[in-house]
Symmetry: D2
Subunit: 144 residues, 4 copies
């Protein structure tokens, strides 16, 4: 846990969380099942948002549902049961209607999995809508 992660470009909107691999998340190989990395990524997005002062629960309760249109993971090394991992979540790009994230999952400073995703904003009825201001402006707000 003590190893430093690579430095991010100045002004990057990013955050880090620590996640312990649960027994229920492993599979017959003894490894973290591949689908569960996406659950971690989601947790990374939620905590990144919270760090900016907003809970995703509130966002959703205000009628802004963030749905995935695409997600991907590249697995370099497997995560094992009970590993204590560090997930870095980075806002890659924000437009008026979409947010692209990038994910880097580390174990003791070593990058073991990478990911990326695109979120779109929809209404409770599933219709596309513009991102709320506090989301679309996040990048600018945190720039120097």
């Amino acid at each position: 846990m003590s190893q430093p992660l690579p430095t991010l470009p100045q002004g990057a909107v990013a955050g880090e969380i620590h996640i312990r691999v649960r027994y229920a998340e492993t599979d017959r190989m003894g490894l973290l099942h591949h689908a569960n990395y996406f659950v971690y990524f989601e947790q990374g997005r939620v905590e990144l948002l919270r760090q900016s002062g907003k809970s995703y629960k509130d966002v959703e309760d205000e009628g802004y549902l963030m749905v995935l249109t695409r997600i991907e993971a590249k697995y370099r090394k497997p995560a094992q049961y009970d590993d204590l991992l560090t997930l870095r979540t980075i806002v890659e790009r924000t437009t008026g209607v979409r947010i692209d994230h990038r994910y880097e999952l580390y174990r003791e400073g070593e990058l073991i999995t990478e990911g990326s995703s695109t979120l779109a904003c929809v209404t409770r009825e599933g219709k596309p809508q513009p991102l709320p201001d506090f989301l679309s402006l996040r990048r600018k707000q945190s720039a120097p």
Copy 2:
């Protein structure tokens, strides 16, 4: 799959489904993770209801939410990855506000896990409400 299950008492409201243990449902021991049996039990309840001509989705969309107040499992033998299991779901007792189910999970005719649960009916706001007629009368309807 071909082994017959024990005979049920006459008039019993019960149904059987077959479930294949998925890889993602196993854990580091190579066995079906114990929490996933409850997902199977839920599927048993849903299919038992469908067999009586109603989908649980419709029930919920009509404003009747069935929430668990208690659930239990007794594990005799572990289910393995790729096992093709037979789940028998039995309505044990129905009152105006609750349904008790019993579950029997078989592999090749051998009982490997048993369970039981109690469901209560609540409104969308979480307030207790009487069961809808088609649920509370199920036992009588199927009696001879």
Copy 3:
């Protein structure tokens, strides 16, 4: 379920399975949670293999572990609770050490999600190894 799927190119190694969306697989939006599509894709691969006369369990027990190096999903329309979906799994390319799959998930004949993945073969100790013959030759075997 009755709608025909698009025709596949001749000689394609592909299979179809039907999957009912479970309650436990939904999330707060009432939709199939995005990580669970990958569990379905896995089931698609396993059943495609079984259709060729081999269980993945046996493959793994013989010491050939198939691990994902990459997986992706593109979500067009959300799957809802209780939907009965058709998943088509296609072997896109097989080399001596990898298998690329493609996935198409349909609801009533409409394509709602697409995916792709790359599997590599490793030993029980996690070292890369060539695919067993019955896997690397699958494409040719099924050609006319």
Copy 4:
């Protein structure tokens, strides 16, 4: 989080962890799906063991597999998405071959769910075996 939990009897072997309800763990009702409470209970057991200086991973790697023979939950109030919960895990009884645990899940000092379970120790082949000393003696060790 600040509310104190009820006092435990002197000498009790018990521990507390905090768990945030993940989006993927909710269901169509917007609540923590009932099967996921058992995943939390498992995490409670694992962290209670770690607190006594041992990781469950090591225990298992030494050939002692702890399997559930019974588990139960009683749901009083539902946990919601994003709730920050406190789980108290208590060793209720330890014999030479079994451990009984009790679970209390709190939200802001209020007990929302209770549970109990029995674990047995088996070999890698699934045969019953006595608990390792450091587990069967845990109760005594921590007594005054």
